[in-house]
Symmetry: C2
Subunit: 228 residues, 2 copies
């Protein structure tokens, strides 16, 4: 039995977690070789950046040697968690024996802060891509980036694409297509895809910098590392 473990911590963006969780849960329902768990430090209710709270299925101690570990992101709380050595050590420990190490959105910043992405091609939310380089990774502006055991997704909703690609890797295209059909993932953004040519990326820089400064007010070394 191979365990696919999603990491839960305080303040995440819930769609980062739930998009790929839904994909992998449907996959596991058809593939008894796999099981899916949500792992956290405790089994209490965790806040998110929405009014919803989330409860894990297992503590980290209950999940030994996962086959895959997937880390969701968030905004200010995730930046703070970059300095949470206890959680980073949980991630390092899980990653050490894992065949697949995944992230969604700024979850890759946690992989970077844990020292796992040194020299690895990786991605994150478009507005924080430059931070990845400061954590030792080679930042790539693509929807899903694979490098060895690492599979990192761009912002929030990209976790769905990442997970379907992972199903394809584990069980082939037909398995991924079946999951896609079950979750009816036939996207039709009402105004079309993002028009990147109209996005003023620089305009969002101060927003990221300000949020980082707030999150890391008590952690000047990490703040300097990310913004120098």
């Amino acid at each position: 039995m191979k365990t696919i473990a999603f990491v839960l911590y305080p303040g995440i963006t819930p769609l980062d977690l739930v998009g790929p969780l839904q994909v992998m849960s449907v996959f596991a329902a058809f593939n008894p070789d796999y099981r899916v768990v949500v792992a956290a430090e405790t089994l209490g209710a965790f806040d998110t950046d929405t009014p919803l709270q989330l409860v894990a299925s297992h503590t980290f101690d209950q999940v030994a040697e996962p086959y895959a570990v997937i880390v969701p992101g968030g905004t200010e709380p995730t930046y703070l968690v970059m300095t949470d050595e206890r959680l980073l050590e949980r991630i390092r420990t899980a990653a050490a024996g894992a065949q697949v190490i995944g992230s969604v959105c700024t979850g890759s910043l946690l992989l970077g802060a844990a020292g796992l992405l040194e020299g690895r091609r990786a991605t994150t939310h478009w507005a924080t891509l430059q931070l990845l380089g400061r954590l030792g990774a080679d930042p790539v502006s693509e929807r899903v980036v694979e490098d060895g055991p690492f599979i990192t997704a761009a912002g929030v909703s990209a976790g769905i694409d990442m997970a379907l690609r992972l199903v394809g890797r584990l069980a082939g295209e037909q398995a991924a297509r079946t999951v896609q059909l079950m979750i009816e993932y036939d996207p039709q953004p009402p105004y079309g895809p993002i028009d990147w040519s109209s996005v003023d990326r620089d305009a969002y820089g101060p927003l990221v910098t300000d949020t980082l400064a707030t999150a890391l007010a008590d952690h000047p070394r990490m703040l300097e590392r990310l913004t120098r």
Copy 2:
């Protein structure tokens, strides 16, 4: 202050809820006229069809006269909830004064079971479309269907498209585009969109019928209504 209320009940498909919840939460963060809540019968942890549990922010009693009410779906547990008169009455009460009544996936079957979709154009997960007609609605095979105050989405992931369309209705295209950018909703299904021409819809009929029969074993009248 207009309240956008998401309905939580046992056994849902969490992506049905979390997709549009994330969209509307980002929208509300930029629009102080709106607030988002997740409402349930209790503030305990609710199971889902994944290993994750969800906790609401408010009880139904704490949410008076929401501006919008959005109902997620699921599989067997949702079919059973079609006979839960207490929850159906909660939905009717919320819908009575709402300007927007939304659903994702089989959430529209609950709107139908509550008697709200009589003669209305509506949609649901592709595999359960025929059930909608048996609940009085006019089933439409589209990603998002609007009819008066009703906005219904197709299966699971369609809730993201539905919510972005709703943001467009409430605040215009630019607001929807901004939310889309924030959640980086620029979908790239790894094997392309669903190839409907290759989907044998009839092959899934027995799966739905069997699940209905299990869920509604103690509710023969509802079962007969849906499968006769």
